[in-house]
Symmetry: C2
DNA sequence: TTGGAAAGTCAACAAGGCTGACTTAAAATT
DNA sequence: AATTTTAAGTCAGCCTTGTTGACTTTCCAA
């Protein structure tokens, strides 16, 4: 019941990696790894009145300086009201600057302030350290596979967003 | 500043996959992929008065039938009070059965009911389908790398939990 | 027989999602 | 020039899921 392709029939390549058991291991790997993925920044954030949502905003503003609110909204996949709460705090605390658009004055372009950059760097560094250790332990072949599978797991729309973020150095 | 190992010095193997840029791509891949990972079950759950927390409980009870509350607690990494709220709903709705321990009567052993199995299977199937498509598209080599990197990203304690879940068919 | 462990419960709170309704300013269209 | 649409922001209220802290009941084990 529910088992597909787990029998390596003579003549077919081994499809053992597609057994339900293997798929479940993949699911559990995602679950536990995501916890590790967020653990370090979360620990840093505890010292502030910020949470994971603030981290995400800082990350993507840093990644695409000058991005508009609407843009950020579609990357984060949350509602305007939800993002606004987070953004308001960051702007009030002088971590993020909101500049009126030059061409279109309805738009606001978001930038990190010096202070915002410092926190972003701090969070990012913690997260990159863990990623670096994992990448180094697994090796370049594994990293390539890691990214291939993750990309294939995204919705088409997310994959578009993902590929849009410039990847210098690839 | 903050750049490590991106220069492929003569004599060193290529460490290009450890540039900050590559690490950031990895971080973003995790972010977008996790959204995809949860999207399908979340959609199903919308028809019920359950959320992701209920899904996780169902998953791990299905995975380790007869597990105790304490056990589940340490796997899920939430507080007793938080889990209790979820578990109470599942038991009241007859999706989960809580049996008093035979050896140690303080313990409760958790099992899915017929009804619980049905929902679990539904959720699991949706999630496995996406995972299967991704695995198939990426191929067995990539899947191996995917799991290697994720395992390396876990905290030691989580990795222990992860490896404890039996992996028949590996 | 007593101390500690497992489970369960109540209350109160916070973060971060959501919907709906509405405003303001500016751009775009008619 | 008038109207419609878009971008941003706001208020209010709700839900889920996490947290602490305090306390009870049951029962195993020293």
């Amino acid at each position: 019941m529910g088992q597909h392709g787990e029998v390596s029939r003579p003549g077919s390549e081994s499809l053992l990696f597609l057994t339900d058991e293997q798929l479940k291991k993949g699911i559990e790997a995602m679950f536990f790894a995501y916890r590790g993925f967020t653990a370090d920044p979360d620990r840093i954030l505890e010292n502030y009145s910020y949470g994971r949502a603030h981290h995400r905003a800082l990350h993507f503003i840093n990644r695409s300086p000058g991005t508009t609110v609407n843009n950020l909204l579609s990357i984060l996949g949350v509602t305007k009201q939800s993002l606004n709460r987070v953004l308001r705090a960051l702007i009030e605390d002088d971590l993020v600057e909101s500049r009126v658009g030059r061409r279109d004055k309805r738009e606001r372009h978001l930038h990190l302030t010096e202070k915002g950059s410092v926190l972003e760097r701090d969070l990012s560094e913690a997260q990159r350290n863990r990623m670096r250790v994992a990448f180094r332990a697994a090796g370049p072949e594994a990293v390539s596979g890691f990214r291939q599978v993750l990309e294939a797991m995204m919705d088409a729309e997310m994959r578009r967003q993902y590929n849009r973020l410039k990847d210098a150095g690839t």
